[in-house]
């Protein structure tokens, strides 16, 4: 009886331990792929964004076509390239 109990205890310990390794393994792999965390940067930028500003961009035909024309593989619309004159750099719209 005591043997069975101790077996169960070990078994559940192993399960927990295995769960931890799986989770750690995943984050270790992701950390190995890149040390950069653009999602944190995104969070920071969106937190400082003024609400409802720039909505017109999302309504623009070019953007909507690009967003909707999805899953068509090698279509010409795969890339939406929003460009500016070289050297314009930090340009603001007021």
């Amino acid at each position: 009886m005591s043997h069975i109990n101790s077996f169960n205890a070990t078994n559940s310990y192993n399960n927990v331990w295995n769960d931890c390794t799986v989770a750690d393994g995943r984050s270790q792999i992701l950390a190995w792929l890149s040390p950069l965390e653009p999602r944190l940067r995104h969070q920071d930028i969106r937190d400082r964004r003024v609400e409802n500003v720039g909505e017109w961009l999302l309504q623009a035909e070019e953007f909507r076509n690009w967003q909707a024309n999805t899953g068509r593989g090698e279509s010409d619309n795969a890339a939406l390239f929003c460009y500016g004159d070289p050297g314009v750099g930090k340009t603001y719209i007021r």
Partner: protein, 151 residues
């Protein structure tokens, strides 16, 4: 793969509305928008669309001040990381590559060609949106490599 590059806001306004003045009229007075704001809007919109669907969204913000850390390999790795984030399991090919490099003393970072291959495999299985902000803040020789890799 669907790619969205947001570079400079002046170009954006020209592309989407034809006239900058039009854009100006829509904005409330005193509000200043940068390309970062636009990119983050696009990313949020794509994330809303992706919710509950088999769609991956990845973003990247180039920053001139971080140009040393933002190498093509680490940038593409960061994209791949986000694409994998939505999957229940890391694909075997990738976990295997991770295990293999551990056998080398001190470990070994992934090569750009490996990351590109992994990215191609994962993005061929589901619709993948990649939004890159401020390509103009990326070192030009890096930019060529990155665009080439995402082609």
């Amino acid at each position: 793969m669907q790619l969205c590059f947001a570079m400079v806001i002046q170009g954006l306004a020209k592309l989407t509305l034809g006239e900058k003045d039009e854009a100006r009229g829509i904005q409330r007075e005193g509000q200043v928008l940068t390309s970062r704001d636009f990119s983050s809007l696009v990313i949020d919109r794509l994330c809303d669309q992706a919710r509950g669907q088999n769609i991956a969204v990845a973003c990247f913000y180039f920053d001139y001040a971080a140009r040393k850390e933002q190498s093509p390999t680490s940038m593409l790795g960061a994209i791949l990381k986000q694409v994998l984030g939505g999957l229940e399991e890391v694909p075997r090919e990738i976990s295997q590559a991770y295990e293999d490099q551990k056998k080398v003393i001190g470990g070994r970072g992934p090569q750009r060609s490996d990351i590109v291959k992994m990215l191609q495999t994962t993005s061929s299985e589901r619709l993948t949106f990649i939004c890159i902000d401020a390509m103009d803040e990326c070192v030009s020789e890096h930019r060529i490599k990155i665009l080439d890799s995402l082609d």
